[in-house]
Structures are given as C-alpha cells and as structure tokens.
Symmetry: C2
Subunit: 334 residues, 2 copies
C-alpha cells in the first residue's frame, strides 16, 4: 500500500503539498494539483487519514451529475432531489456530465462535496474508486446500464422496467400490433440501455423469438427524434413498424411532431408510447400513452439513500413500480 | 475605508485567517469563515488586493443561479449557456436560487467562481455589492424585474417584451377578444413582472384605458396553473375573460389541462397563449400560440456577456426580438 511519501515523490512535490491537495487548499497550482491527483491514482494511494478528516470537515454540499438537463423528466427528478436535500440542510449543485471532462470534474469535486448523485449516466471505475477512497459516497438515480462492470456496485433507485415493459408490450399487442420498434439513445452506457433490454425481454416473452422490429436512434432529444422519424417516413415505402416505444417522452413528442408534419395518423397508422409520463405528455396531441415513472418517490428515495450512505449505512437498491398510463397515442378509441 | 486588521479584530481572528477566508482555504472552520465574511460585509471592507489575487487565480468555473429548473424554457436557456461556456473552457454549475439561503450561497461561491449568471431571478443588493467588491461579475439572462433598484445595474439579455406583447394582444383582439386575462407568478421581484408590465401597456395602447380583465396566479408551474383555472371554472358562472395569456408555456399547458378536464373548448370558449414557445408547445392539444423566445441566441448572448465582463469589458443590455407564433389555441380555424 503506497504511502503519502511515495505519492509526493512520484508527483515531485513535498508531502505537505499532497495534503494541501487532499484538503483542497486553493494555494496549490492547478497543474501541481493534477500531478498529485494523478500520482494518487497511479499508486492507488488510500488516504484514510485524509478521508477521515475530510469526512469530519463536512461541506454540506452534494453534487448531482446530470445527463441531459433538457429532459423534463430528469429536471423533475432533480426538483425532488433538491427538496429532500434542502430539508436536510444540504446545498445541491448540478453539473452536466461530460465523459471527456470527467477527470477535470473529479478534481473540481474533491473536498467540496459530501456525496455525489448520478442522474442518468455512469462514471468511470477510476472515479468511483477515487471517491470511494475519500469516503465520498456515490449513488445513482436510475440504474446504471447493467452492462457496466464499473457501476455495478453503485446503489440506485429505479423502476421495475421488465414488468413495466411487459405491460406496455402486452397493451400494444392487444391493440393488434406485431411489428413494434424501440427508439433509444446512447450506447450500452446509456441509462436507456436498461429500458431497451427490458423491452427486448418483454417482446421475447410475449411471442417466442419475437424481437424489436427496428431499433431507432433518437438522440434522447425532441429534435433528433423528429429528424430520425422524418427520415424514415420520407424514405418512402411502409414503415418497418406499426407501433413505436420511445425510451423517453421527449423523443415520443418529437416522433409525434414528425407524424403530424407528414400527415401520418397517430395511432391509426403508427402508435407511439413513452417511458416517463412527464407532465406535458397528458396534453400532447394525441395524449401520450406512457409508463409512469414516479418522479417524486424516486427523487426522495435517491436522496435519502445518499444521505444514508453519507452516514455510513449501506444503500440497498430500491425498485419502484412503474405504471402503464394508456392514452390516445396508442388506443384507437382514444 | 476598513482595513484587513479591522476585519480581523471584529471577527476575533488573525489577519492571516481573513486572507485564508478570502482565498477560500478549507483549513478555516465554517463558523470562523461565516464570522469573517460577516465582518467584511458589516465594515464594507473592499479587499482589492484579494480581489486582484482572486482574479488571477482563475477557477474556470461559473455559477448559474436558476429560478425554476422544472421549466423547460429555463432548462433550454441553460443548455445553450453551458454549450457556450464549454467552448470557452469553463465549467458551469447550477444552483436553484432560494432567497432565504442567499447569504449561505454567497459564502459557498466566493473564491469558487469567476462569474455568476442569474437565470430568472434577482439577488439582493448586498450580494451584488459583495461580488462586485471581489471583481466577480454578475450578469442576468432575462431582465431582472424593473421594479428592483438593486439589480437595475445588472446587464442582461432579454427579448423586447413591449413589442412582443403588442403583437400578441393585437392578434387576440383581431380574433374578437375584449376580455383578456394574464396569468403570472411571483411578485414584483419575479422575472414575469416585466411580461405582465408589457402586457398591461399593450392592453392600454390597444384601447385607451383597457387593462387586463383579470390577473391570475399560476405559481409558474403546470400543476398550480391547472388548479387555479379549475378553481375558476368550478366556481360556476362565466369566466371573467375569453382569452388568457400565460407568462410561461408551462402555465399555459396546465391551463389547457384544466380546460380539457372540464370540457371547456379551446379556443372556442377560451383562447390560451404562452410566452416562451418551448419545444412541446407545438405538440400540445390544441397546439399553443406563443411568443417565441429565441433560447439559443439568448443563452449564447448571456454567456458571451458574462465572459466579456470577466475580461473587463462592460456589458450593454441585449434586446432580442420575440416572434408571435399563432397556432390552434387562439385561432378558431386552427
């Protein structure tokens, strides 16, 4: 196990500077700070002494790393996270997570937060180890993509996607749909990966061997989803599906916009459903069928879990029930 | 003019501790830190030396104080603010502004940010003086309520509300509406105060002496607006207006929800319009007439203004043009 002296040697600084960095004193030049943090990681140094002192020097601040603040669902979750944090006297600051700047972000957060809440995206294994070594707990609202080894250990709050997707797929089948497509965003890292996975399973269960009739990329956003569907519609010929499940409501709204723009009747020619049931969804034209994700319950549970971890208790993953809300976008008589 | 020694005496600490605090070294106990910051304010100490040193010790961080992250319009502005900041190598962190915690927030930000961007709410005169003394510029996206002396000097980016409201009111009059109500939120401090003011003027101009036929409080949110309108509808009798202009689209959507729930035909019995034209507005049922607020232009301009101020240039207020988008919620043939 590396010593502080070894860290200092490798970084070419004095032992004192190493503790300055761990105490985040601003007297340390950013460049030096980087060198030291890098040495700490390379040597796998575990500054328990420091960790304890950091623990006792509470910042009363919590960082929320958000995936896409433009998604009203994530913003809604955030509202309840903030509410809960405020009740406990914590300040929440929010930062949009950018993979390419994760290392930089790490050095911005060290010594400045008592806990970190991931909202919709994973972080690297290095980052988890790093904050783990500093006793700064990391919790995730929405389960990190199950494919990720790194974040496998991060406690999370999410809904039971398999059962929610089964009820949605069953509903669409019941409406006579056999070719059902899924619109997702991001890769295996994306929080949507779990929703796609659950959709695949639900399709396979409903009818042996059946899979999505198409997987579309909607970029997680209204405009990108609209463009993607316009591309398919304008490509001519029949669409490869009669029903479309979108991993978030924003992409569902963008898909509705594309259908409206091209006179494609919803749900007559294409049924469209979302996965979050944001406030606006009930007022869309036609009103959007969606899996209801209990934002308040989830936000409060995620924050409670983080506060618990900050006080040393283990956080067991929390599974909430999603609920299918059927509206005009999938029901012929809607 | 107070000296650093006087600050130290009043706070009952050494001069060194005062500079620790101004340099935000975490070695200082939070309680001591508070004492010192309070002494600095009470004595009106202007730590120019410190200010300069803080200036040279760039944090590459910018704080955005947001009013209500649940409003997709504010989130949309934020996206473009972040994009612009990122292009210039800055980290943006976002904090929901709470008046009752402003003092606490001040001590969290000192020494940690190069600039502050207000998104939808004012801050106290003390806070402006305080950051002014530390050479940390403050800029506002959306003009702080004109009633406020304190924020009168803060440079801002906003649209030309008077001309935008004139075109909206003229359109509604053209559709035969004479009793036009306005739904707002917050008091004279609210960013919506300017929109209400512009609406009043537009009404008075259109017809000498005419004013809003009613001013409703929608709390700035979907649910609160829905409740308010349900209350009026369920109160029985005719509504005191035939057209309703909502200070933000979220309240307009909530109003549409109330009308839908009670079978009040839009626009036949009540025409409804918004003031932001968020992405979802075009997909609402009926599609929402709204003043289009150019989010990208505004977000980029606000961030550019802040960066400019951080580099010593003065920021002149920027006035963008809003554009009336007429849709089904106010056009009988929509």
């Amino acid at each position: 196990m590396a010593t502080r002296q070894e860290v200092a040697d490798r970084a070419g600084v004095s032992v004192a500077v190493v503790s300055y960095v761990l105490n985040n004193r601003q007297v340390v030049k950013e460049e030096t700070r980087r060198k030291v943090l890098q040495a700490i990681e390379e040597l796998g140094y575990r500054p328990n002494q420091m960790a304890r002192s950091l623990k006792t020097k509470k910042t009363r601040q919590i960082a929320v790393l958000i995936h896409y603040i433009g998604n009203p669902f994530e913003a809604g979750l955030l509202l309840h996270i903030e509410e809960t944090a405020k009740r406990h006297g914590y300040f929440v600051f929010v930062q949009t997570y950018e993979p390419e700047r994760e290392e930089e972000l790490r050095s911005l957060l060290v010594g400045r937060v008592d806990g970190i809440l991931l909202l919709g995206q994973p972080v690297s294994e290095e980052t988890l180890d790093y904050f783990g070594s500093l006793d700064v707990p990391v919790v995730s609202a929405m389960q990190p993509a199950s494919g990720r080894e790194a974040t496998a250990g991060v406690p999370y709050v999410d809904i039971d996607w398999p059962s929610a997707m089964r009820s949605l797929v069953a509903h669409l089948r019941g409406q006579g749909h056999e070719r059902i497509a899924f619109m997702t965003a991001g890769g295996a890292d994306s929080a949507y990966a779990n929703r796609l996975e659950a959709f695949r399973e639900a399709m396979a269960e409903e009818e042996a061997g059946a899979g999505p009739s198409a997987i579309l990329g909607g970029g997680g956003r209204f405009e990108a989803a609209e463009r993607e569907l316009l591309r398919l519609i304008d490509g001519g010929g029949e669409l490869p599906f009669t029903a479309l499940v979108c991993a978030n409501d924003l992409m569902a709204a963008g898909s509705l916009a594309a259908c409206r723009a091209r006179g494609v009747a919803v749900p007559k020619r294409v049924a469209i459903a979302g996965c979050e049931n944001i406030l606006m969804s009930s007022q869309l034209s036609p009103p959007l069928t969606a899996i209801h994700y209990p934002r308040q319950e989830a936000g409060e549970a995620a924050m409670a879990m983080l506060l618990g971890r900050m006080n040393g208790s283990d956080g067991e993953p929390v599974r909430l029930q999603g609920q299918l809300i059927v509206r005009g976008s999938t029901r012929a008589d809607g």
